[in-house]
């Protein structure tokens, strides 16, 4: 039997479409209303409530927790003070990326981590003699994301502390009687928060949030809408933009953080004295500039896109449903130079955009490339150019 998140009594009432996906073994709404685009615009213009409970959740505690994370995680957890959150990744010995996650540091010795895939076996095996306890608390909590420009105004009515909560900061608060952990994080690239709540208090939190949020035009939103925003925000999705090297069969399926556009994590590597997993390999890759790929954005030339459709007598397609595939990318000589694991028409940018994996020499912003698509079962190559990620980055996200 498929599992249901702690919010299911409410999400099932709210879901008018009956469309659900299975996400990590849980039912997750694709969309609540007939229009996913309406939910999308709620994220970008008012606020939307997204049930993220299916993510795996771990609690790390103990006096050596910091030392442990400093050795396992690629970014330096010591820079993440209590009350802060950090987006981080972990790699294998050869510097291949395993996964990414957000860590919340609640106190000097207590952390919460959400991951897309199960990791208890992997994490526990690395504890060794350190004094750290890792608990899989996935079933104990419900998690909700409240995302969008109105999210602060809404949440601060329930938890006034939120007013001053900075980007990637965490606090404990109370909403009604429910104890919650609130972080200013999210997967939409907008102003937004994520809220952890005891599973028994989940429905109560949902009700309070929605009651407060509704006058602001906020609505529950499903995965379809969030998956558009994450491409606009240039945020990677496991299983789409990369795969965990733990389960890869060959190096084509593996990628390094540098190849995935996460090179910014290593800006301070010289002054970082940690021996974290994968460091020698990553350092070598930096020194030898041996990355095989660069991850960047591509933006399709709108005139060429229209031309190709017009020539076939078709209405130009502008579909905001993400394509998680791998459309091929070519250079001017029609040599294959990469592909787009994620591609979508962005309603707010009014452009077709893609997260692209390109050979590094072709990845400078502004470089011209050709993207292969099929129109009426014919292959065509449409003009596009390389652009920086994120595509959409409103100041309010961090303000």
């Amino acid at each position: 039997m498929i599992r249901k998140t702690p919010f299911h009594p409410r999400t099932s009432e709210a879901n008018e479409t009956g469309l659900w996906s299975h996400w990590s073994g849980y039912l997750a709404a694709d969309r609540y209303q007939m229009s996913d685009k309406f939910e999308y615009f709620a994220i970008r213009n008012s606020a939307a409530l997204f049930d993220t409970s299916p993510l795996y959740k771990y609690r790390l505690t103990g006096p050596d927790a910091e030392m442990y994370l400093a050795g396992v995680m690629t970014r330096d957890i010591r820079k993440c003070q209590p009350g802060q959150a950090q987006y981080t990744i972990w790699c294998d010995d050869e510097g291949w990326m395993l996964e990414d996650a957000v860590i919340l540091r609640l106190s000097p010795d207590e952390y919460l981590i959400t991951t897309a895939e199960p990791n208890l076996f992997y994490f526990e095996d690395l504890i060794g003699r350190l004094s750290v306890e890792i608990m899989d608390v996935s079933d104990d909590y419900g998690a909700l994301a409240l995302q969008g420009p109105h999210s602060r105004r809404i949440l601060e009515q329930l938890a006034p502390e939120v007013e001053d909560l900075g980007y990637f900061r965490v606090i404990s608060a109370k909403v009604g009687d429910a104890a919650v952990t609130i972080s200013r994080t999210g997967y939409t690239g907008d102003l937004g928060y994520e809220i952890w709540v005891d599973r028994d208090d989940a429905v109560q939190l949902w009700d309070r949030l929605l009651e407060t949020a509704a006058p602001h035009g906020a609505v529950p939103c499903g995965q379809d809408a969030v998956l558009i925003t994450r491409i606009e925000a240039g945020l990677l999705l496991i299983g789409v933009d990369f795969h965990s090297a733990r389960f890869a069969w060959n190096d084509d399926q593996r990628a390094t953080p540098l190849e995935l556009g996460l090179g910014w994590m290593f800006r301070d590597l010289a002054s970082d004295d940690r021996r974290f997993i994968g460091r020698p390999a990553i350092q070598r890759e930096i020194e030898e500039r041996s990355s095989r790929w660069a991850t960047t954005g591509i933006v399709v030339d709108w005139q060429d896109w229209s031309r190709l459709h017009n020539e076939r007598g078709l209405i130009t397609s502008k579909d905001h449903t993400p394509e998680h595939g791998g459309m091929m990318i070519y250079d001017a000589n029609l040599e294959r130079i990469g592909y787009t694991p994620s591609f979508v028409y962005s309603p707010i940018l009014q452009r077709h955009i893609g997260i692209a994996r390109l050979r590094p020499q072709h990845s400078a912003p502004g470089s011209r490339v050709g993207l292969e698509l099929s129109i009426d079962h014919r292959y065509e190559v449409v003009d596009a150019h390389v652009s920086k990620l994120p595509f959409y980055d409103p100041p309010r996200k961090t303000a």
Binding site: Q33, M34, S35, K37, F38, F41, R44, N45, S46, H150, P215, H216, G217, A218, W302, Q303, I315, T316, S317, K318, H320, Y345, P347, I348, L349, Q350, R351
Partner: protein
Amino acid sequence: MAKNRYDAIVIGGGHNGLVNGAYLAQSGVQTLILERRHLVGGAAITEELYPGFQFTTFSYALSLLRPEIVHELELTKHGFMPLLMPSSFAPTEDGDYLLLGQDKDENHHQIARHSKRDADAYDAYGHMMEQVVHAIRPLMDSIPPDITSKDPEERARLAAMGSYLADLPAGVLHDLVRLLTGSTADILEDYFESDIMQGWLASSGIIGTKVGPRSQGSGLVLLYHSFGEHDSDYGAWAFHKGGNGGFTQVLARAAESLGATIELNAPVSHVITKEGRAMGVVLEDGTEFQAKVVVSALDPRRTFTELVEPRELPADLVENIQRLKFQGTSAKVNFALDRNPTFPALEGRSDQYRGFINVGPSLDYLERAFDDAKYGWYSQRPYIDACIQSNIDPDMAPPGKAVMSNFVQYAPYHLKESDWDGEREKLGDVVQQRLEEVFPGFGDLVLHREVVTPLDIERTVGLSEGNIFAGEFLAPQMFFFRPAPGWNQYRTPIEGYYQCGSGTHPGGCVMGAPGRFASQQILTDLQKRNKKSS
């Protein structure tokens, strides 16, 4: 402060003036846009008329804006945000309703509640309209040929247009002619049998024009309003973030960032001409600005008979302009509401308010509303295109409150027995009364009311006789003939004097095409002139 000499001056900061000025500036032409009022936007403005409530005083929804403009002027960088309307709602006379949304199959079942036949016909009708729109789009999206010209190039364009039309599938061409010449009712009755489908769709055939759904020629109005799109969804409508005034603010930012100067509170008295050439303009306070290119973004009556001396123009042109039909028939009644109104059959719900609310439940209803106008009076049971924009854009009203725009027909500019200063609030009462029928208890929710008559549109925006499109959508006033035969290519008989308002091709609506085409024409002429002088 603006300097006194520019390459180009645009008179009027409505959306077309802004588009025109932005394109000129983008091509390196030093451009000054002069706007009479304290804000740009013309008919497309948003004002906080009651604290916390953003009113779209006149124009309220976006559909026909040409997508090229969004790209070419990079409007998304300046905040362009068309918020899709996910629903369309049409109450019937007996308290039932039609509620359509984004799901085609769900729509089928919604229509089938009223007529199973209509549910299938809707797909057929939709496909017919899309094909016609798609077919004549290239004609709408380019500068039309000058049918009066003997110039071989113009003749060749005319011939090319003929071949293009002849190459269309015969059925599409036939449907096109039916739409261009027939009545909205004739076309809809071919497809639909239920009152609510007929009434709901027919409303697009009467907007802004003094025709009823049974008037021949209303098909053209219907077709015109189908030209819009959002994200390639033909016929889709959106509310721009912050209303249509939010959109014109985006345009103003784009124009300024491209180098155009916008001067507010700068009413132009007239264009300075010398030996048949435009030399600049004079403001009402006597200030002069010089430029070799002067563009009027006002309606044709003002462009040809007020800003310049009609005596300087060919008599046939003046005569054609004097004959242009304006006869505004639309009004607005806008409300600040304490909350969303209640529709009894959907009590407790508000998702039906996320798009247009069509109060016009049958062809007969619309035609009767028109009957009043025929005899010089406003409709006693008017057609209302309502929308409660705060449901889509919560920033338009304080949390939990609502702001409502009501576009009303018919309200003829010329009243037989009275005048609009005397009838304004009575019109407001008629509309409010009608809304009370649909939403019982409506009156108790009203915090503030704004009534905008055709006279107010004329006074405030400058649109002659309050015609919302700067000249009605009638066949003799379109395409080759907009605004007059021989002058449909944005030029005027005065060298260096151009027109770019909604009175030029393709026409009114927040579309931007006139402003864009005019800029192309001006830039071509400037290039020619520069070549000659070098």
